[in-house]
Symmetry: C2
Subunit: 356 residues, 2 copies
């Protein structure tokens, strides 16, 4: 894949994995599925076919030390720092400025750092197809083959197949659908040709910059100013100045839904979102009870236990999510595990900085 670059997005607080994920260690830095963090897994996955020097990361400044610790081979100038969060359209735009300066002809795959991909071989084929489509001028999104009528994801409705030679078909996009109601999700999954939007994109840098100019002109102006300043001592002051002028939006809303040259590559890649403890529980095991450490279960079923430091005894309980950390212990149900966000919001309102 000549010219394929990778931009790993490492923003986001990952509050739904509290109390393990914290402000200073969001979920992409956690070793949830083995000895490598989700961020390291994301890089490992592409490093099999993309040279290390073509991998970039965008992240807020407070995570810079952690990223260099977890990715020691990442060149310092490949870590693009977003001053503070303004939605991923601004963060991605900032990184596009860096990439455009590095290689104006770059094709780049934009990949979140908190996903799991089970089928790496298929993932590679999907990226080859997406790269082929991107080289033909498309803004390409990966469309995850839906396993169930999930209402927690946005959907992409595919249109006709495009005439692009590739190991996986490439289709035009008819429309993006925001997180649907249950019945709408069921209809889409039953109809076929609908995919989950996982926020993964492949495009030529110059092509997406044209889309920024057209749909997010304020961000495009910031990108242009930054592109000129890259490598000069002015960069930091230009960044500080233009950052607050960028549009507060996401790539999905600000670019993908508005552009008319969007394509989708159906991606049947064993993709999993680690969006909640219940989702992580699905990923780690189908066992009756799953525990990160020593477990004694008496008449207990379908529980998920994260407590690597201690023995956990469960008696007569079902469907619980238990997460133990040195200063906080969460007990909820798999059904309610997304509501961890509510607790985190409450801790924020109460200024419990020690627990965030």
């Amino acid at each position: 894949m000549p010219r394929l670059y990778v931009l790993v997005l490492s923003g986001g607080a990952g509050t739904r994995l509290w109390p393990l994920s914290r402000r200073d260690r969001p979920k992409q830095f956690l070793e949830l599925l083995g000895e490598r963090s989700l961020l390291q897994d994301t890089v490992d996955r592409v490093a099999e076919f993309v040279p290390r020097e073509r991998i970039f990361v965008v992240a807020p400044p407070e995570h810079r030390p952690l990223i260099h610790e977890q990715l020691p081979e990442l060149p310092v100038d490949h870590l693009v720092v977003e001053p503070y969060p303004r939605g991923n359209a601004a963060a991605v735009g900032l990184a596009m400025a860096a990439l455009a300066a590095f290689d104006p002809d770059a094709v780049v795959a934009v990949l979140p750092s908190d996903h799991v991909v089970g089928d790496r071989a298929q993932f590679r084929k999907v990226l080859i197809a997406a790269t082929a489509a991107a080289e033909r001028g498309h803004l390409v999104t990966l469309g995850i083959t839906p396993e169930r009528p999930d209402t927690g994801f946005g959907y992409i409705e595919a249109a006709d197949r495009l005439d692009i030679e590739a190991p996986v078909e490439v289709r035009a996009v008819k429309r993006f659908v925001e997180k649907p109601k249950r019945d709408a999700a069921e209809r889409m999954v039953a109809a076929g040709g609908h995919y989950w939007n996982a926020g993964m994109f492949v495009w030529r840098v110059e092509e997406v910059l044209r889309a920024y100019e057209k749909h997010l002109p304020k961000t495009a102006a910031a990108i242009a100013a930054l592109r000129d300043a890259i490598g000069s001592p002015r960069y930091e002051s230009v960044l500080a100045e233009v950052w607050e002028e960028t549009d507060r939006t996401t790539v999905d809303y600000g670019i993908a839904e508005k552009a008319d040259n969007v394509a989708v590559v159906p991606a049947d890649i064993g993709w999993r979102d680690v969006g909640s403890w219940a989702r992580l529980a699905e990923i780690v095991s189908k066992a009756d009870n799953w525990a990160s450490g020593d477990l004694v279960a008496e008449d207990a079923h379908d529980n998920f236990v994260w407590a690597p430091q201690k023995t956990v005894a469960l008696i007569g309980v079902e469907g619980l999510v238990i997460v133990d950390t040195p200063d906080a212990l969460l007990i909820t149900t798999k059904e309610r595990s997304e509501d961890v966000k509510t607790v985190v919001d409450r801790l924020k309102r109460e200024d419990r900085e020690d627990l965030l």
Copy 2:
């Protein structure tokens, strides 16, 4: 109350409060209800009207340091050491030998160390009545006024009132009833005149020694040998020799149920057994959720949390018992909390000494 001595029983493993109670720190040593342990509370309760020099404790050797730490005013020769557990009839008999040597005319109240008494003024009146009856030659048991048809306690059926002048009535005992089935418990509570057997006794030492001679002659022989050896260098070797000859039984089965001079003093003293986490939960609070420390509850009700060292977040859970310690975490329901014993038994079978 002239001549009233107190013997506090500090045996028992208290496994049903695992993982907080451990072999080297059973429940009577735990500060479950404030800054004083249950053992300290037991002594404080009687020290209001019994001089310290008339208070004795019987315990296994491994708890000697802990008892002197928690009860620094206890004279060394007031701690009677049972070499290893053989049921409380042997332990009480051993202590009776010590008391008989100390004061042959002693009247002694035998009190477990893991109970809660809410009404201390009434407790004192009950002990005055029991002492009066003991001085008349009765083996007196305290009968707890039952609050519900509990199947977890043995019952005492009272007979006629005895003609003893005292602040609380004293009645003869018709029979002892072992832990009953539900319907039998309901009938007894509805009928009145039935009391919970809490294992608290008051008697003249010489009177109970006669009962040992009659009903537990092997233990009585051991007591006689020990009584002669008290204060001499031979004591330890005599104890080691006679201990294994004692009857393995309890005061309830071995003495109280067999003797014909047993009386009962109805004791409406706010008594509570701390026999399980669910029982402790009842004692500490009627609040919707109770926590020993910082709690964040979202749509969570009727939970009991012991985790003094950390913040606990509960979301959408009900009726749980959660007990956190540095090396073990228990999650069960109030309904199932007595089954902690099952977990402890399993840990014993698996030789998990670190957790016992």
